[in-house]
Amino acid sequence: MFQGGYMGKVLRVNLTTKTVAVEDLPEKIARDYIGGAGFGVKYLFDEVPGDVDPLGPDNKLIFAPGPLSGTPAPCASRMAVTTKSPLTGAVGMSLSGGYFPVELKFAGYDVLIIEGQSETPVYLHIKDDKVAIKNAAKLWGMDTQITQTIIKQDLNDQNTRIACIGQAGENQSKMAAIINERRAFGRKGVGAVMGSKNLKAIAIRGSNKVPLANPEAFETARKFMLGAMKQSPVLYPEFSKLGTPMVVDATSAMGIFPSENYRNTGEKDYSTSIGVEASISRNKGNEHCYGCPVGCTQLKLAKGQGYEGGMSDPEYETYYSLGSVVGVESVDSIIYNDMLCDKYGLDTMSVGVTIAFAMELFERGMLTAADTNGLDLRFGNHQAVTQLIEEIAFRREGIGALLCDGSRIMADKVGGDAEYFAMHIKGLELPAYDPRGAKAHGLNFATSYTGADHNRGYAFQEVFGIPVPNAYDRFAVAGKGWLTKWNQDIRCATTDCPTMCGFLMDMAVPAIAEQNTADLVSSASGIALTKEDVGKVGERVNNLARVFNISAGFTRADDTFPKRIMDETIKEGGSRGQRISQEDLDLMLNEYYEARNWRQDGVPTQEKLTELDLPEAAVLLAARGLL
């Protein structure tokens, strides 16, 4: 049926009944959703009710690479995993690169759907059309690195690609990640869902090639993109040599690198202690994802302060979450603690921000040594961060149990005024950009279908000053609703669905991203897509995800910011004087909903759903009396 790009098959594994089924991938789904996040949101919407218990047997884990994954398209190494998030209760979608994602394509599948719940620990072994559910009793309790080593030994196949959970996923921490090699499907507690299913790992080995419908046209599109990458002012040598840690210096200079639980963003310059200059001195080389000529991942070895031997590859976000937001100025502790999070299978971002929340409560006397198992939780205590990561991973009684399900649940447990200091949106902890100094970037956090998620609509216009499609004053409110819709739709359509590394869109082809995607996907798959079709896919996915979230109970009131962001003004630095008032938020939200042709209560209109060919979403809203 498909001429290329797609393998044409959906693999469905039920862990309750221990059954395996292979289905055809409908061409309409491929055309309307492209792949990756699009497939994830579509199958989630069709198969998982919005009110399902995220950690119960009726939730599903949907793994989906895209039509470019496994082809020679540059930087198309990625895969989305989609589920109902136990951390947020909304769509939980997380992407990872590396080598595991393309292996699913090589095994012959475009989608892997895990459903049900095993009574005992198992792992899944996929070797082309041979699919086995194997006993994982002996693996239970092992960390992510040992798990991968043991499975490779047991299968007698060192080239098997593995995604697995560590102890955090087993203990169903709502901040648990799924780790593949050293990369992570990090956010939204996807590892807890895997743990709830007693699924320790997925091991894949494939022997197929991804066919190309029109190899000549594909080669032309591929060469064009490689040429654009070479012309990029950022990719070579800067990004290849420095990776995402360079952003610490940029956001620090702009006054949007958050510190100490956002209470003093801009007041202390963390770039001097944990900026690119400090971290590059720990470099031991870089790593590449499948098919990526850039290799932005910077492998670092800790040097001192008791962290010798710690080796990891912290990204920009981790310099914030295990650094500035917890008041830590030690690069070595960041490297070591990043390694620990990978080992136990934890999202560094949610973990760090939740620890920052606990530190603020401790300094304010809202938590005492009796609550913290005697730990001194003052900002800057990196040894305490190390200890807390272990407490969280093992859900240990006391402080571990208090923190391990993230900031929102912790705020509920502490009660009183604690919520004021909890830096999350829809339950997802904030990424490393103070929204007060980058309003569209912030509005994306407030409206993204996954909660406070920078990757669903990155405002490179504000953070890097790139004037595409237009130049924007990052402090201004007007125009940010429209811009946020543009960023969310284009990001979804050109990176999350095909699937392609998001950095490439910003740095190589920002002005022509939709055409670039249309050319690559059309020539790979034989499905003729225009750039307008591609843009529509982004809009369709964002609308369908919105309706899923409405069915999960979310409303306009959830499209908001933590109270601190709205009540307090940044006092120092490059964003001094900035805040987001309720009036600012209302103006931006009104404009955003208008740009999306949604009602002012945040519900998509019949007209929009008809335009996007989403009758299933209209039926759901009508049944709730919302259309």
Binding site: S232, V234, E238, M246, V247, G437, P467, D473, G574, S575
Partner: protein
Amino acid sequence: MIMVEITTIMGLRTLMGGEKDQSLTLPDGTTVADALDQLGKIYGLALHDRIFNDAHQLNPGIAVFVNGCVIYALAGLETELQDGDAVLLFPPVGGG
């Protein structure tokens, strides 16, 4: 005369004597282009050529902000600077 605060990071900082922040005293009516030219005179061609192309436009990826606002959202290189303005000069940066 006006005094403006210039801040830069990473590679550009190296080309500007290693200082992250510095003050420049400039004539009234100075534009962003004038201020960057002045920096080129102080620190030499290596800096000038890193900032400007042959057509005296900003090289790709170089971003300039005045008081936090990218100059493309103002009057570009012709943006007139005022006393006390903060100018932030970025080399190509991306990722995150």
